[in-house]
C-alpha cells in the first residue's frame, strides 16, 4: 500500500463549507485509485462531533485538533488563529502519518498554507487544480494558466505532492451514512512551540456578511451597463431571489460603485459557479478570464454583438432596466410555485 492521502479541513462551530466536502470526496477518490487510505485532518472549534460526518464521503479516520488548545501553545491571548502554526501542524502531521498527497481547498486559507506545506515537505505544488489524473505511478494535475486562457497538465515530480482544489469544480459525492472515527490530536505531540506563532490573526472583520463571489454557487454580476451605483439594487434583487452572490466588472469597481472584493476577472476573483448571470457587461477578455469556466453562463446586454454572447449558454438581447425586473419577478413566481 502506498502512502496515505490527506485532506486538510478548517472548521468553525461544526460547520463545513461545500469546498471542504469537495476536498474530502476527491481525497477518497484518489486513495481508491492508489489503493490506499484517505484520512482527514481538521483544525477547528466545536467541530469534533460533526467531523464524524466525513464518513459519508468515504473517510474512515478523522484527526481532530482543537483550535483553542493549539492557540494556547502561543502563550498569547485574544487572537483567532495563526497561519504559521497551521502550516507547521499540517506539515508535521503529514510526516508523522505517512501522507504523501495533501489536498486543501484553494480558498484564501488554503492558498496561504499550501505553499508553506509544500516547502516544508519538499513537495511538488499544484495550486488551483481542476482535475487530478493518476497515470501509472505518475500524478498529473490539471490547472488553468493565464487566467483560464489555457489549460495545462502538470506532472508533479517529487514524491510528496501538495494540491489545492479550485472551489466548485470537484463534485461532492455522499457515499453512505457511515460515521468516521474521530481521533483527537494534541498539537504538542506534533512539536508545535511558541515560536511557530510568528504570524497571528488578531481579528477577522466580515465586511458585509454577504456570500463571497469566490465561494458562491450562483452569481449575478453587473457592469457599466447598469449606469450608476443606485441601479445595482436590480442586481441585488435578482441575486436575492436566486440566493446568489453579487459580482461586478472592473469598470464598476474602478468607478467606486462596487467594492473590489466583488470584482470578477483577471485582476479580480476567479469563479466557477453553476450559474453566472452577466448583466450590462461587455465581456472583455479580462472579465471572461475570471468566469468563463462557469457551468451555465447567462448574458443580458442590449448590444447583440457584445463579446459576452459568444461564451454565453443563454442570453437576452435587451435593456437591463426592462429585463432584470421582469426576470426577478418571473423567477420569484416559479420558485415559489
Amino acid at each position: 500500500m502506498s502512502k496515505k492521502v490527506l485532506a486538510f479541513i478548517d472548521a468553525k462551530d461544526g460547520k463545513f463549507k461545500n469546498p471542504a466536502l469537495e476536498v474530502l470526496t476527491e481525497a477518497n477518490k484518489l486513495a481508491s485509485l492508489l489503493n490506499t487510505e484517505s484520512i482527514a485532518l481538521v483544525i477547528g472549534n466545536n467541530s469534533e462531533e460533526s467531523s464524524k460526518s466525513f464518513g459519508n464521503y468515504g473517510i474512515k479516520n478523522v484527526h481532530y485538533i482543537d483550535l483553542t488548545k493549539l492557540n494556547s501553545i502561543s502563550g498569547k491571548s485574544n487572537f483567532s488563529y495563526s497561519h504559521s502554526a497551521f502550516s507547521k501542524v499540517i506539515s508535521e502531521f503529514a510526516k508523522a502519518n505517512d501522507c504523501n498527497i495533501i489536498l486543501l481547498s484553494a480558498n484564501s486559507l488554503g492558498k496561504d498554507l499550501a505553499p508553506r506545506v509544500a516547502v516544508n515537505l519538499s513537495a511538488s505544488y499544484c495550486p488551483d487544480c481542476t482535475a487530478i489524473k493518476i497515470d501509472g505511478d505518475k500524478l498529473v494535475a490539471t490547472r488553468p494558466l493565464f487566467a483560464g486562457k489555457s489549460i495545462a497538465d502538470l506532472l508533479l515530480k517529487n514524491e510528496t505532492k501538495v494540491i489545492t482544489l479550485r472551489p466548485n469544480v470537484f463534485k461532492v459525492e455522499k457515499l453512505s451514512d457511515e460515521e468516521a472515527t474521530v481521533i483527537s490530536v494534541d498539537p504538542v505531540s506534533l512539536g508545535i512551540t511558541e515560536s511557530d506563532f510568528s504570524v497571528i490573526v488578531n481579528d477577522v472583520v466580515i465586511s458585509s456578511g454577504k456570500l463571497d463571489v469566490a465561494e458562491a454557487d450562483r452569481i449575478v454580476s453587473g457592469g457599466r451597463g447598469l449606469r450608476s451605483q443606485e441601479n445595482f439594487n436590480l442586481i441585488e434583487e435578482l441575486a436575492e431571489v436566486l440566493g446568489a452572490a453579487t459580482g461586478a466588472s472592473r469598470a464598476v469597481v474602478d468607478a467606486g460603485w462596487r467594492p473590489h472584493s466583488e470584482q470578477v476577472g483577471q485582476t479580480g476573483k476567479t469563479v466557477s459557479p453553476s450559474l453566472y448571470i452577466a448583466c450590462g457587461i461587455s465581456g472583455a477578455i479580462q472579465h471572461l478570464a475570471g468566469m468563463s469556466s462557469s457551468k451555465c453562463i447567462v448574458a443580458i446586454n442590449k448590444d447583440k454583438d457584445a463579446p459576452i454572447f459568444q461564451i454565453a449558454d443563454y442570453g437576452i438581447v435587451g435593456d437591463v432596466f426592462d429585463v432584470l425586473p421582469a426576470l426577478t419577478k418571473e423567477i420569484k413566481s416559479v420558485v415559489s410555485s
Binding site: H83, S108, P115, V204, L211, A214, I311, G318, I331
Partner: protein, 249 residues
C-alpha cells in the same frame, strides 16, 4: 530600512493565448509583455517608503534576459537598484523561483520584501508563502493595508467576504493586493532617469523543477448559446430554459 521588491514580466492581460508547436507552452510571437499588474502595487509601496523613510530600494527578478524589462519598469517608477537572477531557460516552477529569491534574500537581509499577490501568467499566488518558509521570515499575502511601526507590522489581508487583521514583526514579506495604494505613472523625467540605470546580472543558484508542464491546451470552446432577442418579452422563455434544459434554477 532596506526594501526588496520581487517583480515579474508577464504577457499583457489582453493577450490572446496561442499554444506553441511543442504543445506545452504559449506561442510568444506578437505577445506584449508588461510588469505584472499586482507588482505595480508592490513597487509603489517600496517607492513611497523611499520617499517617506529614505528606504533603500532594490527590484529583483528571476528569469532570462527578457525579464530585465520588469526591473526597468520598476526603475521608471522610482526604484533605485535592480538585479536579474539569470536562468538558462524560462522557468515555470514556482518552487524554483522561490529558491533563487530566497538565496538572494538571505544574502541581502532586507527589512521588508514586497511582492504582488499573484502573477497573472501562472497565477500561483504562492511565492510570498514559499519565501517565508525558505527564509524563516513571516509573510502575509493579499494585503490591502500595511502599517509598519518600530518593529511591529499590521497588515489587512483580504479573505472571503472580509478582512483579517494580522500582526507580526519585521522583517516581513508582504504580497500586495489592489487597494493598498495607487501606483504612479512614470513621468518623462523618471523614464529618462531609468534609462541610465543598470540592472546587475547574477547567475541562478537553483535550477531544478518540482513540476513540469507536459501539455497545454486552449479551453474547450462552448457551443453556440441560445440568445433570445425580444428583450423583457423573452424572460419567460429564458426562465423555462434555465429550469428545464440547464436545470440550474
Amino acid at each position: 530600512m532596506k526594501v526588496i521588491v520581487c517583480v515579474s514580466l508577464v504577457p499583457d492581460s489582453t493577450t490572446k493565448v496561442k499554444i506553441a508547436q511543442d504543445g506545452k507552452s504559449i506561442d510568444e510571437s506578437g505577445v506584449q509583455f508588461i510588469l505584472n499588474p499586482y507588482d505595480e502595487f508592490a513597487v509603489e509601496e517600496a517607492v513611497s517608503l523611499k520617499e517617506k523613510l529614505n528606504a533603500e530600494t532594490l527590484a529583483v527578478t528571476v528569469g532570462t534576459d527578457k525579464a530585465t524589462e520588469a526591473v526597468k519598469k520598476a526603475f521608471q517608477m522610482g526604484i533605485e537598484n535592480g538585479v536579474l537572477i539569470k536562468t538558462d531557460n524560462e522557468i515555470v516552477d514556482t518552487y524554483s523561483v522561490a529558491k533563487n529569491l530566497a538565496d538572494f534574500i538571505n544574502e541581502q537581509k532586507p527589512d521588508l520584501v514586497l511582492l504582488g499577490k499573484q502573477s497573472i501568467d501562472f497565477d500561483s499566488s504562492a511565492l510570498p508563502s514559499m519565501l517565508s518558509e525558505l527564509t524563516g521570515i513571516p509573510s502575509v499575502n493579499v494585503v490591502v493595508k500595511l502599517t509598519i511601526g518600530d518593529n511591529k507590522v499590521t497588515a489587512e489581508k483580504e479573505i472571503e467576504g472580509g478582512q483579517e487583521i494580522i500582526s507580526t514583526t519585521l522583517p516581513v514579506i508582504i504580497g500586495t493586493q489592489k487597494g493598498i495604494n495607487t501606483p504612479r505613472y512614470p513621468n518623462l523625467k523618471s523614464i529618462m532617469a531609468a534609462k541610465k540605470k543598470n540592472v546587475e546580472t547574477r547567475h541562478s543558484t537553483y535550477n531544478e523543477n518540482a513540476t513540469e508542464i507536459i501539455k497545454m491546451e486552449l479551453p474547450p470552446i462552448k457551443g453556440k448559446g441560445k440568445i433570445l432577442t425580444d428583450g423583457a418579452n423573452s424572460v419567460p422563455e429564458l426562465v423555462k430554459l434555465l429550469r428545464e434544459e440547464a436545470k440550474v434554477i
